[in-house]
Assembly symmetry: C2
């Protein structure tokens, strides 16, 4: 299809789920009700690191109303093996251990035991009656701390893997990998200016509004039925089946509406516990997390220690780039350092690169994905170093980026060579944006820029499209809809069918009722599930042409279509009229699409940000913010803009406010949304958006995922703006008032 022919793709129809969301009809996980429902509560560790000597549940079990108490010992103890948790393989023992601690607790908030009772209050009270005898151990809370000689060992059996091989050495470094391209020493030798800096970023939470929840029924026929809010109903199915040692088809997951995820609702916490409690009691069991549970018991994004060294010639050509990335995995291996390493220099075409990545376990919650996971940390480092080089060389920071920008054919140090990408176009759009030339006015003001890259993912998706007699179609999909993907997926079917987006009725169904569909993550749904919808619609069109051929007694190959009108010779019939004639031409028409697409295209983003810094308090006020992003072809521009604004707001939160503020014992001191300060609408200016469209050659409509790249540039751009405003280089996130004041004071000294 040629772009100019699109009638639905690129328009802005009203979202299909809008009415339910704004009227409060939409049912989220916590809304689920069932006859005979019991309520679960999880007892969590008060220590960041301790050995569990003994758990005595006697008193809890005796409390009237309590129906069952559970510890890790109740889980089937299948032999350890690697299992796919929706984001790659993990040892089963780690997955199980994070759901209920066994032997040791590894972070404050680690689940230790669970209770099911006739009310949530009784369950909570009973949890308080469980006696756990802990031997408290010293803890390690950051990557540098955990990597130090003599640091407390978190997993006694964790042997460091180095460059893909086990070293046999037990340490808190789960893995050290290295990407090399060119000759790093020669690259720096060639450089006329070299800047090397160290960075620290805080542990940050995704901060979705809806806490985790799960209801499970272990039915008498052995089937396990689950209702929950999740980014991947099939992930919940597969992980639960794995932990409970049953075949995947024994588990049915019904995804409820989801109140935000951002990557944090991929991991499975409550479902297997609720299922086991249901098995023990014979009743359905519902468990809801509190906000404190969410902060302390679910996966935030890794805090990190990063060193970046970049060398350039005087003309601005970057000759070498080196990074040392040590990311906190939290309690179990699997930090986001791998994607961090993929993205750290991904916006630049550099010949000589070396990247060292360290995956480090610490006594914090096991980290999870958070919107372009790992990339925001890395880009903060790279983008401020690049800014410093531009400053040293007296080159405009966008010109410097443009000169070194990645393009089609550029190879990344981790391997892949880019197909057509939009890095240059994003930087050019920033350069010519009126914002970039606008006068700043006022004192203590500065303007910063930064760019970011996210690779996006493909993965399997399935869709079914069936035609209604009134000329509308129903679309069934397995992708839980976090950001309005019902509409962006439906639009792609509508485009193929030649009907309005409103005439496609999308439904997200349970895991029994649609083909396998991977997680809603990696900015993949509009890309991959949209592609499945495209294929399903093509299948429908093939069948409809056969029906037309039957009606007119002609050959299906002679039937052409144009905007929902079928033609052959001098005859024509609309999609609507044909839809009414299906029964008489052979029965219903249903089309399938099931894909595992490989043509995923990465997305580049960039920010221009103006700040004013109050030199008396260190408060940074964002005066103006422009976000630019390559969407490939923007399927629904309003959604793209929404993603850009949402990602920017979160990136600003990382930059200025958000962090797990922990005491030395590993206790989070700000585990409420009042104390954990996310930016609100009052804190932010309007975030202007510019959509750049460099179509992705790997998708039928040229779409790229747009959900993630937008969170990456804000910390770097804001740090650079702060430098321009008050002359200090910020190298630690968040850049909150005390941090800015410290920097100003140390500059004055």
């Amino acid at each position: 299809m040629k772009a100019q022919e699109y009638t639905v793709v690129g328009t802005r129809p009203i979202r299909h789920d809008g009415a339910d969301k704004v009227t409060g009809r939409a049912l989220y996980g916590a809304d689920f009700q069932m006859a005979g429902l019991l309520h679960g509560h999880i007892l969590r560790s008060p220590h960041a690191h301790a050995r569990i000597r003994r758990i005595d549940t006697t008193k809890a079990e005796k409390l009237p109303g309590v129906k069952a108490v559970l510890t890790a010992a109740d889980f089937p103890q299948a032999p350890d093996r690697l299992v796919d948790l929706g984001e790659g393989d993990t040892p089963l023992s780690y997955a199980r251990g994070n759901v209920l601690a066994s032997g040791k607790v590894l972070y404050r908030g680690h689940a230790v035991a669970a209770v099911a009772a006739t009310s949530a209050h009784i369950a909570e009270e009973a949890a308080g009656l469980i006696e756990v005898d802990y031997e408290v151990l010293p803890c390690a809370l950051t990557a540098p701390e955990a990597m130090r000689e003599g640091a407390p060992v978190i997993h006694e059996d964790l042997k460091t893997k180095e460059f893909g091989e086990s070293t046999g050495r037990v340490s808190n470094v789960a893995e050290h990998f290295r990407h090399v391209m060119g000759d790093i020493e020669a690259g720096f030798a060639e450089a006329e200016v070299v800047v090397e800096r160290e960075f620290h970023t805080a542990t940050v939470h995704q901060g979705y509004i809806e806490p985790h929840n799960a209801t499970a029924l272990w039915n008498t026929d052995g089937r396990i039925l689950i209702w929950c809010s999740t980014q991947g109903s099939f992930v919940v199915r597969d992980v639960t089946a794995c932990l409970l040692d049953v075949p995947v088809s024994r588990v049915r997951v019904t995804p409820m509406e989801i109140g935000g995820g951002f990557g944090g609702k991929i991991p499975v916490y409550l479902e297997p516990v609720a299922a086991l409690l249901s098995k023990k009691t014979g009743h359905p069991v519902k468990i809801l997390m509190s906000r404190k549970d969410v902060f302390e018991g679910t996966g935030p994004t890794p805090g990190s220690y990063i060193k970046v060294k970049i060398g350039a010639r005087k003309d601005g050509h970057i000759t070498a780039a080196q990074a040392y990335l040590a990311y906190e995995a939290g309690a179990y291996p699997g930090s986001m350092v791998a994607p961090g390493a993929m993205c750290v220099f991904a916006a630049y075409d550099v010949a000589n690169v070396m990247i060292d990545g360290f995956d480090v376990v610490v006594n914090k919650p096991s980290t999870a994905a958070y919107r372009a996971p790992g990339a925001t940390n890395a880009a903060f480092a790279t983008e401020t170093v690049v800014d410093e080089i531009a400053e040293k060389l007296g080159i405009d920071p966008l010109d410097l980026r443009l000169k070194n920008a990645a393009k089609e054919g550029t190879r990344r140090a981790d391997g892949p060579k880019y197909r057509r990408i939009g890095c240059v176009e994003v930087i050019e759009a920033m350069k010519k944006h009126p914002h970039y030339a606008a006068p700043l006015g006022g004192l203590n003001r500065g303007r910063g820029v930064a760019v970011g890259f996210w690779f996006n993912v493909g993965l399997p998706s399935s869709c079914t499209v069936s035609v209604n007699a009134d000329g509308t179609v129903n679309l069934v999909e397995g992708s839980t809809d976090i950001g309005g993907t019902r509409t962006s997926v439906a639009m792609q079917a509508a485009e193929v069918l030649g009907i309005p987006a409103e005439d496609v009725r999308p439904t997200v169904v349970d895991t029994d009722s649609v083909g396998f569909t991977a997680v809603t993550g990696g900015s993949r749904v509009t890309f991959a599930t949209g592609w499945a919808a495209y294929e399903a619609a093509q299948d429908v069109m093939r069948q409809l042409k056969e029906r037309v051929a039957k009606l007119w007694e002609t050959d299906a190959a002679s039937v052409t279509t144009d905007h929902g009108v079928f033609q052959s010779g001098d005859k024509s019939i609309t999609f609507q009229d044909l839809a009414a004639k299906l029964d008489q031409t052979g029965g219903p028409v249903v089309g399938n699409g099931a894909v595992n697409p490989r043509g995923v295209g990465g997305s580049f983003s960039g920010n221009i940000v103006d700040v004013e810094v109050d030199p008396e308090t260190g408060k940074v006020t964002i005066l103006r913010f422009t976000a630019v992003q390559d969407a490939g072809k923007a399927i629904h521009p309003s959604y793209v803009e929404g993603q850009m604004q949402g990602g920017s707001a979160q990136g600003i939160g990382w930059a200025l406010n958000e962090e797990y503020y922990m005491n030395r014992d590993g206790a989070m001191m700000n585990s409420s949304l009042l104390d954990y300060r996310m930016p609100t609408a009052l804190d932010l200016p309007m975030i202007d958006t510019v959509i750049v469209e460099v179509p992705n050659p790997g998708h039928p409509f040229g779409a790229r995922g747009v959900g993630e790249a937008n969170i990456i540039p804000p910390p770097g751009a804001i740090a650079n703006a702060i430098h321009r405003a008050v002359g200090v280089r910020m190298r630690r996130l968040p850049m909150n008032p005390p941090a800015v004041m410290e920097a100003i004071w140390s500059q004055r000294d």
Copy 2:
């Protein structure tokens, strides 16, 4: 596929829905709950025929807790047109009028107004406060009464259609049609014995255990969401859309489990009313019927007046058969006289036939389908007349039937010529059954036989099958499962896939989530939806062969399959192992089947029944009962046997007990299950079953529908047995003790 190759079809796996049904987990319509739910109540007419002068809802509206009151005036008044209500076309005005009466009430129990309130009790109380000013009119309660000169006219605008043309005459006869074959007069002239008899059959209810129910939410986005128990979720969708004058895609129907239907849960009563109440109130509204509502306000099967005349030569050859069928339509045209006329002589190969059918409106609830609708009435007449001829000629009644039995090539008077059928095989199986030769023993005992025919239907069905990584598959279907069709449909997919039935996970989903699927009725689900499952599974196998070809780098055409093992050259892989490799070979595999099959095959059934009649009380006790039926290929023999036993039990109810016992004003006097006497397990002997298998050439596995033919023979067989026991010919249903005593007394006179 050859029969001997079947590994799943013909076996007896445990039903997929068994655990939920026996443990009470299964959710029926009345179980549905939702936040903010209001409760509806329907005000029903106390008169069988009356003009509505005025409805005053003022007092009802003022009752605290009442949120809305509705009358027929609240329905959109779209111009009249023919609409498909799931069983053929009906004027919209009739469909609307039966849901809420407008102008006149036409039967006692006719819905007049509806209330929504915060509790069911308040709603009921409010309904009592609605003041309706009726002008009571004389009523006509039976077909002969309504056809009489000067009978009360029920529809002032109903012009009798005769032989397909409007006569312009207003009467209670909606239609008079005639089927003619051969020369009826010549046929009777050729006959050496002629028997002509008159019959009356009572109005009988399907007696499903679960009353009708509906919950509807008219959402703020204009979508109407419905949860209900129904035989056809798409029927409810389409009829509700029609009555509310919205496109079908605006309505989503979620079928809950259904506690029996037998044809009576095809019509739509509550859903449009609940939807309008929801629109008025902004809340979801649930309406439940009481048993009295079910009896008085929903469609029973027609009472009928029938005359049958049959002539035969002395050798038993039937030369002519004539029938006059006057069936009660109830309040609106559309009795089951058309199928009655199709079936009345369908078991016999007769050259000269004339059948007159009369569709007569009366002041009773609008009749509905009930298991082989119309055929049981007709067969009662034919089978007793045939028995009398056999008796007169001194021929064994099965020999007489065998001599005249319909076979491949026999043409029915209504047109169709039989393909391969099993009438002869059924009668032969009866003849050679030990029961037929067993000594009766005792006084006042007799043995009767009778046969029956039902044509079954096809209609569109859709299925989707998706493959799980553990080698099981999920099957999505739109056929609500009344009698265990999840399993009989799943088995057909399993057979194609070469996996056990238990490895297919069937789910009945809402109308948004599956292709169009017609009503669960006409014994069509195992036949047509089973066929759709067969096609979907074939589609899966096609795709899996391509995956195998990809794995082995060979040609898909070279891949063969045998019992779930794929082979090419010397390589082989099981379905299970292949299922685990889908992601790496291109993504999920989902198969579709959507069919509108034409090859439906009719089913014949026959009964041998022994009775003992108490000559003092007239009570008839069934001593022994053998049911024989041609199932084509029996997909799941236990279900076939269950259908045969269930149909027989209902046929016995028709024969011996059940009737709407009405007073002269058209009030049903026995509208509870205590007074409306259905046979219970204590009333019946074990019903022995013999499955005859004459494969249907019009189905991949040779299946015929088996749900209906089994209800047809019992009244005739029992009447014939009563005659053999005590010498009286019963020509009125039910043959309850007073009726039998009357017959005995009149014989003595």
